[in-house]
């Protein structure tokens, strides 16, 4: 039995009571299960299967005005590129309509004197027409055809017994992601988006809900303190977030076969520190707004969108114009994604992860300091 003058145990009891209450609510609230389990799986599947920056099958129309041995060997060489889906014709007009309609990504024209021009070493022996309305794709098609062309030239020279002497030989070797598969960095990145949603959105909702339903007023009239309230809210969602992260990592590794080269212990630490900042942000939002609708809008605008845009998840931070890279330095997801990609693809690179941890801890502390300042045990 606790005597009234035992403040330490009374404090522990209050915190435990709040945690237990919150956990029961989480377990009974279908929306928290939705956000913690269904949403991560949905997002992972979406990013794992739906989004990819790798070249897909590219439809090329190849116009051969006068078939010769050379055009034949060029056609074969073009067909051997695994991204290309090559159709041939003798008349370019057959393809122009298809290009306009978007059924073709590009047209390659080999004119009647192709063989002669190629032999003379003309600068433009072939003509490439691409659909510039989709610049990304156009660039891709242009580059691939250029590569194929260079390749073919070299092959031709070899087969003719001539020796080409390129001044520099490029022997590219891609580190960490040898297949240059976009899944390998998109899937770890989406884990950060998921945790941002769980941390910021879920917590933003739950504190605001207490205000809206009038239960906060009843809580505040008891001997409960600010820190106890915050801890009581934090612990269950922290556990929920770590659980969601474990689920996401397992899905990434087992289903999408993303390699994981770091240590799980370090991953847990990085995830915990990031959750700390996301939860802090969510708590701050709902404490300031006291309204579920405003808090959820706030969470989407100030946590989810920046995590999507400014984190390097999709858009490269280094190629952003000034001052956007500066803005990204206060987006905690940026550091989390950096750590996640490092842990998944590179391993325990402590110099990177250490800095990321520091930055996240700093941002999180600011959120919590502000929340503690804004949360009062009064209604004012």
């Amino acid at each position: 039995m606790i005597r009234r003058h035992d403040p330490g145990r009374a404090l522990g009891l209050r915190i435990w009571g709040l945690i237990r209450k919150e956990t029961r609510q989480v377990a009974r609230d279908p929306s928290s299960v939705l956000i913690a389990v269904v949403l991560p799986l949905l997002l992972l599947v979406l990013f794992g299967y739906g989004v990819s920056f790798d070249p897909r099958r590219i439809s090329i129309g190849l116009v051969v005005e006068q078939p010769t041995a050379e055009t034949g060997s060029f056609t074969t060489s073009l067909r051997s590129v695994r991204f290309f889906d090559v159709r041939t014709s003798r008349d370019r007009r057959a393809f122009e309509a298809a290009l306009v309609a978007g059924r073709l990504n590009g047209i390659v024209v080999l004119e009647a004197d192709f063989a002669g021009r190629a032999a003379r070493g003309d600068t433009a022996p072939i003509q490439v027409i691409v659909d510039g309305s989709d610049p990304n794709n156009a660039d891709l098609v242009r580059n691939y055809i250029q590569g194929a062309w260079a390749n073919w030239l070299e092959q031709e020279a070899l087969s003719l017994g001539q020796q080409t002497h390129p001044p520099v030989v490029l022997a590219p070797r891609v580190w960490f992601n040898p297949g240059v598969s976009s899944h390998h960095y998109l899937v770890p990145g989406s884990i950060a988006i998921i945790l941002t949603l769980i941390g910021a959105l879920l917590t933003a909702l739950v504190v605001a809900r207490e205000w809206e339903r009038g239960t906060m007023e009843a809580l505040l009239a008891t001997p409960v303190g600010v820190l106890e309230l915050l801890i009581g809210k934090l612990v269950p969602y922290f556990a929920l977030g770590l659980g969601a992260m474990a689920l996401s990592v397992a899905t990434a590794v087992l289903l999408f076969e993303v390699p994981f080269r770091g240590s799980f212990l370090l991953l847990a630490l990085v995830g915990a520190v990031f959750l700390f900042t996301a939860l802090g942000q969510g708590l701050l939002l709902s404490t300031v707004t006291r309204n579920q609708l405003a808090a959820s809008h706030g969470a989407l605008l100030s946590a989810f969108l920046p995590a999507f845009i400014f984190s390097g998840f999709v858009f490269e931070i280094n190629s952003m114009p000034w001052p956007l890279p500066w803005i990204s330095t206060v987006v905690p997801a940026r550091y989390f994604i950096s750590s996640l990609q490092t842990l998944f693809l590179a391993g325990n690179v402590t110099s990177v992860i250490g800095l990321d941890l520091l930055a996240m801890a700093l941002i999180g502390s600011v959120f919590f300091a502000l929340t503690a300042l804004k949360t009062k045990t009064r209604l004012e």
Binding site: M1, I2, R4, R9, A10, L13, R14, W16, G17, L18, R20, K21, R24, Q25, R28, D29, R213, G214, T215, E217, A218, L219, L220, A221, T222, P223, V224, T377, R378, L379, E380
Partner: protein, 574 residues
Amino acid sequence: MDEPLVLIDGLTKRFGPGQRPAIERLTTRIEPGRVTGLVGPDGAGKTTLLRLIAGLLLPDEGRLAVCGFNTAADIGEIRRVVAYMPQRFGLYEDLTVLENLTLYADLRAVVGRERQEAFERLLTFTDLARFSDRLAGALSGGMKQKLGLACALVRKPRLLLLDEPSVGVDPISRRELWQMVYALVDQGIGVVWSTAYLDEAERCPEALLLSEGRLLYGGPPTELTHRAAGRTYAIREMEGDRRAILARALGRPEVMDGVIQGRSVRLLLAEGAEPPRPENVEAGAHAQVVPVPPRFEDAFMILLGGARANSPFAALARQNTVDGAVVEASVLTRRFGRFVAADRISFSVRSGEIFGLLGPNGAGKSTTFKMLCGLLRPSSGTAWVTGVDLATAPGLARARLGYMAQRFSLYADLSVQQNLDFFAGIYGLSVRAGREATARMVETFDLTPYLAASAGLLPLGFKQRLALACAVLHDPDVLFLDEPTSGVDPRTRREFWAHINAMVERGVTVMVTTHFMEEAEYCDRIGLVYRGQLIASGSPDELKVQARSATAADPTLEDAFIALIEAYDRKAAA
């Protein structure tokens, strides 16, 4: 026990610059060992005062000591000795009864055997032991209220603050709640009970009457009521139209205030005035004017300076009356899943009649009401308005009815003129007809000085006028009112009913839902809805007769309500 529980001296609380203070220079004391009623209409400052006492708000000026502690400096002590039950009970609806109690026991450090004893005591006290595993959200209003009370009492406080505990609670639960509070007082707990129902003040040995943040009266309510002694009369055995008789009585200089009570009219006289004679108000040959005991509300009206509200509607031309039933419900049933919210409800309302649907929250009166104004489709049965079937021609029927939602809901950030124009538009009035109708309303309700003002900033009385104007803009045959004046101060309520009575005189039919007994008294006939069924109907006087017993020779409408529901429950149990 000389030390007061709460000492308030010159207390002022403001919520924003330029606004009227929510509490203004309030000085009073709250004594231990009794129930103190904190009485006043909505917006009087009751909740603000309770929050100040609970230390949830800090005073701007003045001194406030609770159990000898300062609410700013000794907040920890205050939280230990004061229990506070906010409006809407402060319960977690997704936790069970027991889990709610456990949380508050954790927060107040009640553990071990002490906790066990407290839970047993409270569950017995509130009669909730049977429901300890039920989710709080699945409890009725009355049971939620009891659970809220139990949570506040997990550790015995010195001071218990209850913010409008009787709102949304049926009369039976309300009576039980009062018995529980009296039991707490016997244990030495000081209780503050805030309420907008003036009749509840009479149950408190001490009452603080608040109006617009100021203390109008503090002391035993009987003492205040006594000021109205000898000034209250009832006209009984009247013949003719009681609404017209009331209007004539209110037109006389000696009458300060008057209300309809079933077949009688109750009058409050000016100081030293003689009561009017029955022939003065054309009440019929057999009418008698007899003295009746004063009520707390009479005294409040004296403090407010009386209400001699005359409705401009009385001056307007009489509308065409419709023959036969204007509103008719025929075996109306509405199911939500397996739950039957309205079960074979039938009644009909004649032209120029006020019909009230009375019943506890959740009984099915709102469901019935919504089916009658075409907002909800019945599962079976038919609803007619002015002879039009709502199921087949809802648009036509709705054009004939006006609807005023609870507590004057208007577009607060639109001006008065914009609100009127908007409603003229949605009623489908042509531009010209709309302009004429809004001009007529502005003139009738004297809204000219406020035309450009935002509706949200209007004084309460004008908000009410505007809401009514918007509901009757298109000259409806039937007016539907959803709890129109609960929580409103008596003067504003008198004015509202003066308008309604004048409209009824012109041939408009009125449907009211209410759980508020005084509103029910204005009705010509009442249908009592309970557990989805219409268990009784008749004039207020007829219902009172049904409840007359050896112990209650002159039952109030509330007594009748309780007796009828208890009789129904007994029959259902048998």
